[in-house]
Amino acid sequence: MTERQFTEDEVLRYARHIILPNIGGEGQRKLVGSRVLVIGAGGLGSPAAMYLAAAGVGTLGILDFDRVDVTNLQRQLLHDTADVGRPKVESAKERINELNPNVEVIAHDVALTSENAFEILEGYEVIVDGTDNFPVRYLVNDATQMLGKPLVYGSIYQFEGQATVFLPGRNVPCYRCLFPEPPPPGTVPSCAEGGVFGVLPGIVGSIQAVEAIKLIVGVGEPLVGRLLLFDSLAMEFRTVKLKWDPDCPVCGEHPTVTELIDYEQFCGLAPGQAPPEAERAALAHE
């Protein structure tokens, strides 16, 4: 296979990467040829997608079924005031292509379900989880494990965030090794209920972009087997050990979860009901 030559624009645009030891022309070529899916065009997905686009990821999938709400603008930098009411994937695609027209953005204006997850995820080499609810987080974990794809995980609540990288296979942990089952309905509040410090997803989503780029380029130590905890109020980063669980229902020695599960009902949301409405309902019942 002949190596793809950079265009003149690419040489200049990516000059600061190309001269960087550990990335160089070879690493940049990997980025330009890479396919990354960002699930959720919200707080985490915004910085993750924007940095990945700026870095020159060739094909960037953006998955979100939601529309831009004015309450999103406090932290979701993919969307502008004028975008309120538009599908998030639409304003995301526009913003990303303003940033870097070389990126092919694939807009998935759907909710991820057990029906479409394999088909959508199959087209990408790295998956970035920036979703805002447990059902999709478990679905994405299980699907990436079953497809053998790396998953860059990030999650936030109020002033604190978590990030790690899950790789497929035995001896490496997945999300279910960390938390085997989703919490029962009503035990863990959502961002809509608890609020979220606007800058927080900017930090955690940027960390997800770092890890995705490291995986693609094959540089550094991936955030595997370590869970990064960030407390913005204490301004403290630390890591705790994350171990492969031989009893993990998905990647353990005797898996019990062998097909995809839609957890909506388990988590108290009616099937097909959009999470934001469900969150509002939960809030109203408080």
């Binding site: 805002d132 447990f134 609540y157 035990t187």
Partner: protein, 92 residues
């Protein structure tokens, strides 16, 4: 017995007067949690079942080790250990 530092996630701070760090005593995690419950009534029912076992959507770390891979609630606690409680969060 020297008190042990316990780090609370944002979610649980309201059960401890808003504090991010609290103190407790005990030679095992189970004893420590019982002491925390005595000092902050209602705190531990957020992560312990009615049978007193740890919920599967909350992890407890002693220093940087998940207690599920140590001795679970029987994990020994030593002076100077830092105990962290970490619930699953899904925000994005």
């Amino acid at each position: 017995m020297m008190p042990v530092q316990v780090k609370l996630p944002t979610l649980l701070r309201s059960h401890a007067g808003g504090q991010a760090r609290i103190e407790g005593e005990g030679s095992t995690l189970r004893e420590l949690l019982a002491d925390l419950e005595a000092r902050h009534p209602g705190l531990t029912r957020n992560f312990l079942s009615a049978e007193g076992e740890l919920h599967r959507f909350v992890n407890i770390y002693v220093n940087d080790e998940d207690v599920r891979y140590l001795g679970a609630l029987e994990t020994e606690i030593r002076t100077g250990d830092i105990v962290s409680i970490l619930p699953a969060v899904a925000g994005g």
